[in-house]
Symmetry: C3
């Protein structure tokens, strides 16, 4: 398997996803043996214009487990400051001399594509603005696939700030490739999924249900879903209407009561960090797989690094 860049969910077809997941399974075995020297002499540049410790450390750990080296900054922003000049393009072209692959987190939608246009080395999109976060979505999809045994026919509820979650945006692009998917959107009205994604899902014949997360509804919903995908509802997104926030937040909590209604073979996912959208009492339930996602994330990222560097075992 060989990839040039990893920029957005749309670049993957089902065959590629299957290949990537098989490669990730292999990486899981390499991790269990303690690592490999497959990427010896390769350097990953971790170029974070916005800090994101999970994404950054996940990639850096993945690179190290494969014997590679890491050049790292979470202050890339200061390189391209207006004071100093120096565009994203210039930074990317320069980094291409220092490293063999770049993972880029940037605050602007579309920046990963801009970077790929001028880069002499593979670009991995580590999240660009509110646009996409394809490697997070890949690990989410991989989690669903491996925990539920497949993606076709899955019933999934997205819950929280659906408007600003690029992980969920990217994941929707993936889900649209599968058949029989049903999606529940559970969000306060101001934070609902953006219209472009809703239209995209409809065009791909995904069944969509919208709901506003009143508590009895959540317990009813619990009976139907295979996946609860929960994300944060940041205070900031409510502006002055903090009361609205406090009121709505209570309707978006996965707790023991909700857990009771859930199917045995279902899972609760969260990209972390979380506040209190999932009660701590849920953590010990086997259906809570958010830490497993972290583990799957390293496997996926090891596979991606191998694929873009053309070094599969």
């Amino acid at each position: 398997m060989q990839l040039k860049h990893v920029l957005e969910a749309q670049q993957f077809d089902k065959k590629m996803l299957k290949e990537l997941f098989t490669l990730s399974d292999l990486m899981k075995k390499i991790l269990e043996k303690g690592g490999s020297t497959l990427l010896k002499e390769k350097i990953l540049a971790s170029l974070f214009y916005v800090p994101s410790f999970r994404t950054q450390f996940s990639f850096e750990s993945a690179m190290m487990r494969l014997g590679g080296e890491v050049l790292s900054t979470d202050k890339a922003e200061s390189f391209s400051s207006e004071l100093k000049g120096g565009s994203l393009e210039e930074t990317i072209r320069t980094m291409g001399y220092y490293s063999d692959v770049i993972v880029l987190r940037h605050y602007e939608s579309g920046s990963a594509k801009r970077a790929a246009k001028v880069s002499s080395v593979p670009i991995i999109n580590g999240g660009d603005g509110a646009a996409q976060h394809p490697t997070q979505a890949l690990l989410d999809l991989y989690t669903i696939e491996r925990e539920l045994g497949g993606v076709d026919g899955v019933v999934i509820a997205f819950m929280g700030d659906l408007s600003n979650s690029r992980s969920i945006r990217s994941l929707c692009y993936f889900l649209a490739k599968y058949s029989g998917i049903k999606i529940y959107l559970v969000a306060p009205p101001t934070l609902n999924m953006r219209e472009d994604i809703i239209q995209y899902l409809k065009r791909h014949r995904i069944t969509l249900y919208e709901s506003y997360g009143l508590e009895p509804a959540l317990e009813d919903l619990a009976k139907k879903v295979d996946v609860f995908y929960v994300t944060q509802t940041p205070v900031g997104s409510f502006g002055d209407r903090v009361d609205d926030y406090e009121r709505s937040k209570k309707n978006f909590i996965i707790d023991k009561k909700v857990l009771k209604s859930m199917k045995r073979n279902s899972i609760i996912m969260h990209p972390l960090p979380r506040q209190d959208e999932i009660s701590q009492e849920v953590d010990r339930d086997l259906r809570a797989v958010y830490y497993k996602q972290i583990h799957y994330g390293i496997c996926i990222r090891m596979a991606i690094l191998c694929a873009v560097l053309g070094k599969t075992p």
Copy 2:
């Protein structure tokens, strides 16, 4: 030698200390040969909620000298910001997937223990609030042991801000294990050693003398001690009474005059960085061992990393 976590001085008994120091001697030899590959494929996560360049680089250098890799941040604080949510516990559980051992520096007393409770990998306390700094105290004890040939019967003067020095707190817990120890406490009244440690030392039959560092007293003291352990007296701790600070500071300076009164086989220690509590003219005296402490620190930390990872040579 195998350790699970390194959280506080109290967890070590004399037998363990002896074993650890023997292991550190071995590490000294490994350093002289240029390093080892004992910790190949292992990753240390350097998780600093408060920056501390000596502790951080000492551990990171130790890990590299043993062939291991390092994931590093001195901005861990921003991971768990209130804005983003994400507790210390969540961060620790997550880092456990990225690394094989975590060194944690945190601003809250007790945080290392909280971390150890949920961690899947060994936690090394790199300083938690004003509570403890066990690896600094271990290197201090190792310095005394190796420079003076033993710890029993040692006469030691602690000087400076004894109230807020977690290194001295931790060292006191260690000294209490030895016999015949005499301790002089030389601090301005507002910065004296906290009552819990004083009581602890008394319970363990350590002879304690308190003094307020008037200059003639310092020269008298110099004749009696085997160890002058000097620490900073930060300006901030005097609040508005900066005059008091300036006045008292003058009484807490180790200079040539004090040096003259000191025994031949005695040592001056300091955890660094220092301001002017030790005159620069003292640096060239063989009894000034503060840079040796740096060296002993790497040996001790190499030994600790080996011990918690179960990889002793």
Copy 3:
């Protein structure tokens, strides 16, 4: 080839420069093969009191390509804060225990020499105040040598903020060693080259021409030069007179028109980052070598690391 420290341009004679460039050619070949393990078990400390991503990553990448390890901080400033105490000297002495070589970027002229005085390991000056930036100048000289086939007799125009460019200062010290050099200084009056360098060049019989970059002059100049060395003209340096800045900036732009007048075998250099002193339309011209400088920079820094560590292939 063995060097103790790399502190300033003046320490190199022509024989050493030739040796260093031959070593750099060798490093180029090592890079093409993917790297080497020449500096295995060695640790570079990247000690940046002022961030500089090109210099930092260039050295760190160079070290990794040679199999070495990197301890890195771009916040060294906070180690020596007044609050914490701890002088540059203390920090350097301490880092000498953690690493085998230190690259130091500091805001104060002369800091690299101060560091070298107390250091137990080689110090590489990565830029000190407005004084010098010898490794940048070495890569610039190496670029001229390799792109034009030699340095003697070269006609070079320096353009932009000549007053504050430590790279150009250092490069002038090198050029003074060669014969038949002609230098054009093209800068707004307030940003002209400092008198000490002008006197130094005159003493070494370098032919100097000064000009203020009126546009027609620039096209005339283009016909004469072998090298256009362009640097930023920062807004800040004009204080309140931003109008002056805007007016003068227009006269200091290398664009297609200037390109047309340039000789076939000439080059355009820039230490990057750039603002708009070179139009983007120039980038694709083969005479634009600013990205080649990045590549030469890694080779030079690999050679320097080998030379100070006494490990030449």
